[in-house]
Subunit: 337 residues, 2 copies
DNA sequence: AGCATTGATGGTAACGTTGTCAATTCTGAA
DNA sequence: TTCAGAATTGACAACGTTACCATCAATGCT
């Protein structure tokens, strides 16, 4: 019966320190009412043995683990990467950890991964968007742990949402276009507007224009995912159909920048002949002349705020925010409008 | 003693189906030797109750969980985002899940997060780079679970590594520059070459040039993180000091593209007056004319391969690869060299 | 002095699952 | 018909931790 050299447990630590298991446990998690001597002895034993707590065991005893299920469509989309960075920042120095689930822009996949992750008894769920499959919504509603929906803030959250308003974003850009005096306006999207968010933005953009008596001249939604190339292609298709357009709003910065490069290379004067505006406020803009006009989406803040709220909720702090949390979007005026 | 309505357990399912707990367990995990009747009854009961297995409990019983600790510097860097996407792809349809740890380009932080994540009894560890703190290396070496180091393949892995050779990458570009006839060559990096990988690449680049009798004219390492702006600034600084330079290798595509935009806007002819090349092969390149010459780093493949190997190892498949796995890098010839 | 309160420590059971072994039933060959 | 072996099902213990309660000593108050 040669015992395999495996990780030391609390029992080992307690034995080594000559105390009871429960006392060792108390020291390790800084419970109150511990004498300095006991604390010192247990600490020493833990160090000597290289003890690492087994959180799996701890989580089983408690009702929930310190794992937070984070479900987003994809990591390659820098929007979600930024959100994840923000969340992790919020978790820094806490026992909370992110367990990742990627939905690949598919509601069924999202539902499946949600079920999967719930089997880890997460302390909370952070999920992107307000739209989910009926079953997923039902599951989320029944959940006892905090559920934070990130990105959108148009609509009612299941529990709490942290995001910004796609409607406002669309309106802000419409107002800007109108203020600049543009009247023959177009729109370019991509990927069949798959993340529904972009459609919300466009509809609000169109509606605000219409309110002011300006009808969107034309729109072009590319099949492919957003990219510089798609932006250039979209713009070309749009202008081929509707050459009178004088200003274009793009679903995101990638598309807009691709279109900008196209304009620069074929000699379309920006913004004199054609004004361009994007959405997101990627750092990328900074090195490009003329600097792109866009709307800053508070991606990092969303993540950090969601992480912090999750922490507060898990800790049971009464100060923890709830409901819809609407971060503001702001126009970043560049030189392309 | 009103029982809180909480998640049903196997006991509930078993009771509902009129069978023993262990039988229910066997049905749920598709163990052999189960009668169709039993299977059907348990399945029905599980559905009726909405049973979700508690993997925390399952993991405690077994020796390791199905969680895989993935430690990378940052999500905002698209290189790691792509790797994570790849890993998750490899885990699709398996019980393996990613628990995320971000080291923020800091070895001490990496060590700390490693310790943190180990307390979840992970089935394996995927960590970026071959360089870790001494303590972290020691921990990783002692680990019983698979350890896969991703990105680099210059050097010896602790257990298994999946990546590409920074040295080869540097050499490939040096050979390309030489083949194109460039002799007055410069280099631009950023962020004090913080991810050590870029320095490895540069040194190999310089060494290969030197082997062929060409001394690097000058190099400029920006303080800031890589960005278009840093690339433009770096190029300007470089040319201010060494205007005779005719070709520049950049630490990555972001820098190179920023420099390219700068050249386009100030009228430096590319590649006639100045040749530019980047590194990574980001999709971004596709929409920009002239298309950037670069080296494709197999980011997604690294992730997918690492994920698959992790799965094979966890499953105990003898086919599971080990040791150093070197993915190839290839030159993507564009129009900037 | 008597008694409640607090501080410090320990014992026991439980969290939900699964590995191990035992018990029972069934199958097919002798 | 009988019996070995397979198929099927179950009982029990254990994984490492912590909640709960118990114990005992020290302290403070009337």
């Amino acid at each position: 019966m040669t015992k395999v050299v495996s990780r030391p447990t609390l029992r080992d630590v307690a034995h080594h320190a000559g105390v009871s298991v429960i006392s060792a446990s108390r020291v390790m998690r800084d419970a109150p009412n511990i004498s300095d001597g006991l604390r010192a002895r247990v600490r020493a034993a833990a160090n000597a043995l290289g003890y690492t707590p087994n959180r799996i065991a701890g989580s089983l005893r408690g009702q929930a683990s310190d794992l937070v299920a984070v479900i987003v469509p994809s990591m390659s989309n820098s929007v979600f990467a930024d959100i994840l960075d923000g969340i992790d920042e919020g978790f820094k120095g806490t026992p909370l950890r992110t367990v990742l689930g990627l939905s690949r822009y598919d509601m069924d996949e999202e539902e499946a991964i949600l079920r999967e992750l719930l089997s880890w008894n997460p302390a909370g769920v952070i999920i992107s968007g307000l739209e989910h499959s009926a079953a997923a919504t039902a599951i989320l509603q029944r959940l006892e742990c905090p559920v934070i929906e990130v990105m959108d803030s148009d609509g009612d959250p299941i529990d709490t949402s942290v995001g910004f308003s796609m409607v406002k974003a669309g309106q802000v850009m419409a107002d800007h276009f109108l203020a600049q005096g543009y009247r023959r306006i177009g729109y370019v999207g991509a990927w069949g507007e798959l993340p529904v968010r972009s459609r919300k933005r466009r509809l609000a953009f169109e509606a605000r224009l219409a309110e002011n008596g300006v009808e969107l001249v034309d729109r072009q939604i590319e099949e492919d995912q957003s990219s510089f190339a798609a932006g250039a292609a979209g713009l070309q298709a749009l202008l081929a159909r509707s050459p009178e357009i004088e200003a274009v709003f793009f679903a995101n910065d990638d598309l807009a920048l691709g279109a900008l490069f196209h304009c620069l290379s074929v000699g379309i004067a920006v913004p004199e002949r054609l004004a361009l505006a994007g959405f997101n406020g990627l750092d990328m803009r900074d090195g490009i002349t003329p600097r792109l006009t866009t709307i800053r989406s508070p991606r990092n803040e969303i993540g950090a705020r969601a992480g912090r709220i999750m922490l507060d909720r898990v800790r049971g702090r009464p100060s923890a925010e709830r409901g819809r949390i609407d971060l503001s979007v702001s126009l970043l005026q560049g030189a392309t409008t």
